[in-house]
């Protein structure tokens, strides 16, 4: 039998392809693949030698020439278009016509992006149906456009639970920033949060948050219900350095303290300590005071200096409260527009809280913003004996009442000096392990500490108001829309079609 009869070309091609497939399936069998590819080569060479005349005739045919020519042109055009697109994607110009300027970043963000010292990896855990998805997608694309030091990855925690587990993600719409061994997590795609995280992660020195101790405060190490171990863990994950301080031992608050926290002191804070805290604040320090009702801490002298006061009694709310809970388990939903509260999406649970007061006269140099308020159906109950269900106009203070407030000086500080800030919350239980994982509580605590520890220039990013233009059609409008939008045009088109068809038939 002559070799020419054998379909060598087909055998060679099949062997070559089979070898490649085998290699992709199991790269260990390299010897078998080498034999297959060698045989394929042999078959093809033999084919060309045996059918040389036919191959020559084929290659000299006009159609082969034209085909090769055409192929070359296609390759050339493809190459040109690839280059054009590559250049276009690297140097693009944008016009943001979106209703909310979603793609335009604040000048501060550009400044932060330009001065990023090292690569930052951002992993966003979100699903397409989640409310934050589009926000993350749009903003981070603009961020990446402005800096090549960012890598962004979107992970669907349902489809890739392993990655989500590795990062300890327990809620979607969370983004993890990683750089230089540090990680920071944020839970909202707002520009303030994103840029804040970038700013924090690009700083080599960790900011120090110090908790005051010595007055039976809630302990950072306590893993029980009343402890703050979860809050400590969350703050560490945000990239802060956490420490404790006793002003009975130390004469002053250390200079490297970014935030000083008084987490629910129960025993008296001595006047001496209070004056040390005041010195710290007056020098530009940031203070967070969380104080429960019925405490012997007696912080009045310190707070009165800034015009603040702690209201008597316990807040009772008939409206904003936990459904199964006591009247004093406040589920606060009313927040004032402020950097701390602007991204809060869930209500904050404050079990057993007190209200705050502000004296305009004493605190005239300070900008006072009540952050959270109780509902109009609330009051501060001064007599907690027995079951409380009604307001006693004579003794009780009628709501709505503020139970958290932020204070910052009206006057801008001198160049180079830090600007003091104070946040007072009439409750410390909300940050304890028992309540910390309540979504609103985590956010409120982290936003508050974040705001206090943050660089003040960052906070000047004006948050973008969501475009709120709701439209609810009434029945007449709905019907009109149905007739005009849904039925009118298609029926007219169909009628025209029928008319044309009839006219054609008559021809």
């Amino acid at each position: 039998m002559s070799l020419k009869v054998l379909p060598l070309g087909i055998i060679g091609t099949v062997l070559a392809v089979a070898g490649l497939i085998a290699y992709s399936l199991s790269p260990d069998l390299l010897w078998a693949v080498t034999i297959a590819e060698g045989l394929a080569l042999l078959c093809l060479i033999l084919f060309f030698i045996l059918h040389f005349d036919a191959v020559k005739a084929f290659s000299s045919r006009r159609s082969t020439h034209m085909g090769a020519n055409s192929l070359l042109m296609i390759l050339l055009v493809t190459a040109i278009l690839v280059i054009v697109n590559f250049l276009a994607s690297r140097h693009s110009i944008r016009w943001d016509l979106s209703e909310n300027q979603n793609f335009t970043l604040a000048p501060q963000t550009y400044r932060v992006l330009r001065s990023l010292p090292q690569e930052v990896k951002i992993t966003v855990f979100t699903r397409e149906k989640d409310p934050g998805y589009t926000g993350y997608k749009e903003r981070l694309e603009s961020y990446r456009q402005a800096s090549n030091k960012l890598t962004v990855e979107f992970v669907d925690p349902e489809r890739q639970p392993k990655i989500a587990q590795n990062y300890g993600i327990f809620r979607t719409d969370t983004a993890i920033f990683e750089s230089n061994g540090q990680t920071i997590r944020i839970t909202s795609p707002s520009e303030v949060e994103l840029t804040g995280a970038l700013l924090r992660i690009s700083k080599p020195a960790k900011k120090r948050i110090v908790f005051l101790e010595g007055h039976s405060e809630r302990s950072l190490e306590d893993k029980e219900r009343n402890g703050l171990s979860l809050a400590k863990e969350a703050l560490s994950k945000q990239g802060y350095d956490i420490g404790t301080l006793s002003l009975l031992k130390d004469a002053a608050v250390p200079d490297d303290t970014a935030v000083l926290v008084l987490a629910g002191p129960r025993n008296q804070v001595t006047p001496e300590e209070q004056s040390r805290i005041q010195t710290y604040v007056d020098k530009g320090g940031h203070l967070l005071v969380m104080v429960d009702p019925d405490t012997k801490a007696d912080l009045a002298p310190l707070l009165a200096h800034y015009g603040l006061g702690l209201g008597q009694g316990v807040l009772v709310d008939l409206q904003d409260r936990l459904a199964q809970g006591d009247l004093t388990s406040l589920l606060v939903r009313t927040f004032t527009e402020h950097e701390i509260t602007q991204d809060l999406t869930a209500a904050v649970l404050f079990p057993l809280a007190r209200h705050l007061t502000f004296d305009e006269q004493t605190g005239k140099d300070w900008d006072y913003v009540p952050l959270a308020r109780t509902s109009p159906n609330s009051w501060a109950e001064t007599n907690m004996q027995g079951r409380v269900v009604s307001l006693n106009e004579k003794e009780d203070v009628k709501g709505p009442l503020p139970l958290a407030a932020a204070l910052s000086p009206k006057k801008a500080p001198e160049e180079g000096t830090p600007r003091p800030a104070i946040v007072v919350v009439g409750n410390s239980t909300f940050a304890t392990n028992a309540f910390f994982n309540f979504p609103g509580n985590t956010d409120f605590f982290l936003h508050t500490t974040g705001w206090l520890a943050e660089e003040r220039d960052l906070i000047s990013i004006v948050p973008k108001e969501p475009a709120l233009r709701p439209f609810t059609p009434n029945p007449t409008q709905e019907r009109a829309l149905l007739y005009i939008q849904v039925l009118f045009l298609p029926i007219m088109t169909m009628l025209t079609g029928v008319m044309v068809w009839r006219k054609r038939r008559r021809l």
Binding site: S63, M66, G67, S70, I74, V77, T78, L81, V84, N85, A88, S89, S92, I93, R94, W95, D96, L97, S98, E99, N100, N102, F103, P131, E138, T151, V152, E153, F154, R333, T334, F335, D343, L344, T345, A346, A347, P466, A467, L468, R469, P470, F471, T472, P473, Q477, E478, A480, L481, I484, Q485, V486, L487, L489, P490, T493, M494, G497, V500, R504
Partner: protein, 256 residues
């Protein structure tokens, strides 16, 4: 009349005397109107729900709840409708044996391809123009921002042009109209689906390239109100590439 104009006129006549364009047009307009109606009603319900919940931070406006969804859904409608409009362009000529006349006529291949493309594009543009009634009617009742709607229409126009060029190529390859329709539908669906692969690969080099090749992200940005030169370059270059390939395929019939 230039040769291109002659081809356009001939094709348009062909379209408007056949019932296909009316049926396709009516269905297109029905789907566009019906979808927008559904989204408006749904947006109304959502507004009521969200207003009852305090602290709802969702964007509550027609641009976001109606038009963005509408334009996003129209991708799929275009994917089905446009291959039906383009399937006959070359396939019918081949079937009716008029293709040889066309090829032996003094009209160049460039002009043939351009004429056929422009004719379907004009049909598509007129359908798109008619859909303008939907935002116009809504404008009477409610308040929204027109800018993202213009960019959405720009996106639909560019996407439609790209789909038509793919349909033209498919129609040039085969003489069977059904095969041509399925071929263009298949190609477009595949390009659509690979964007999912790109998203899965994330921010890697390969992932970025794959996401770039798919029209999804480019169209999405336009729908969301962002005009980016890279998206315009993508649409125009892929359109040019498809027309060039069509030119090559048509010319290949002369090689024999």
């Amino acid at each position: 009349m230039t040769p291109v104009q002659a081809i356009i006129a001939k094709e348009l006549r062909g379209y408007f005397v056949s019932p296909v364009v009316y049926v396709v047009g009516a269905i297109f307009l029905l789907i566009f109107g019906f979808l927008s109606y559904l989204y408006v009603v749904y947006a109304g319900y959502q507004a009521i729900q969200l207003m009852q919940m305090q602290g709802g931070q969702a964007q509550l406006n027609l641009n976001d709840l109606v038009f963005r969804n509408l334009f996003a859904s129209m991708r799929f409608v275009l994917l089905i409708i446009l291959p039906i409009l383009t399937m006959r362009l070359f396939a019918e000529e081949r079937k009716l044996r008029t293709f040889e006349f066309l090829m032996t006529s003094p009209i160049g291949i460039n002009e043939i391809v351009a004429g056929k493309f422009v004719s379907v594009f004009l049909v598509f543009l007129s359908l798109l123009g008619l859909t303008g009634l939907v935002p116009t009617v809504l404008m009477l009742f409610s308040d929204f921002d027109w800018n993202p709607i213009w960019t959405g229409y720009l996106g639909m126009t560019l996407l439609g042009a790209l789909f038509i060029s793919v349909g033209l190529l498919a129609s040039a390859i085969t003489e069977n109209q059904i095969v041509a329709a399925f071929l263009s539908f298949g190609i477009l669906l595949l390009v659509w689906l690979i964007s999912g692969l790109g998203a899965l690969l994330g921010d890697t080099m390969l992932g970025q390239i794959i996401s770039y090749v798919s029209f999804m992200d480019h169209y999405d940005r336009l729908v969301r109100g962002l005009i980016d030169t890279k998206d315009l370059v993508y649409f125009f270059s892929s359109l040019a590439f498809m027309l060039f390939l069509t030119h090559r395929v048509v010319e290949s019939t002369r090689w024999k």
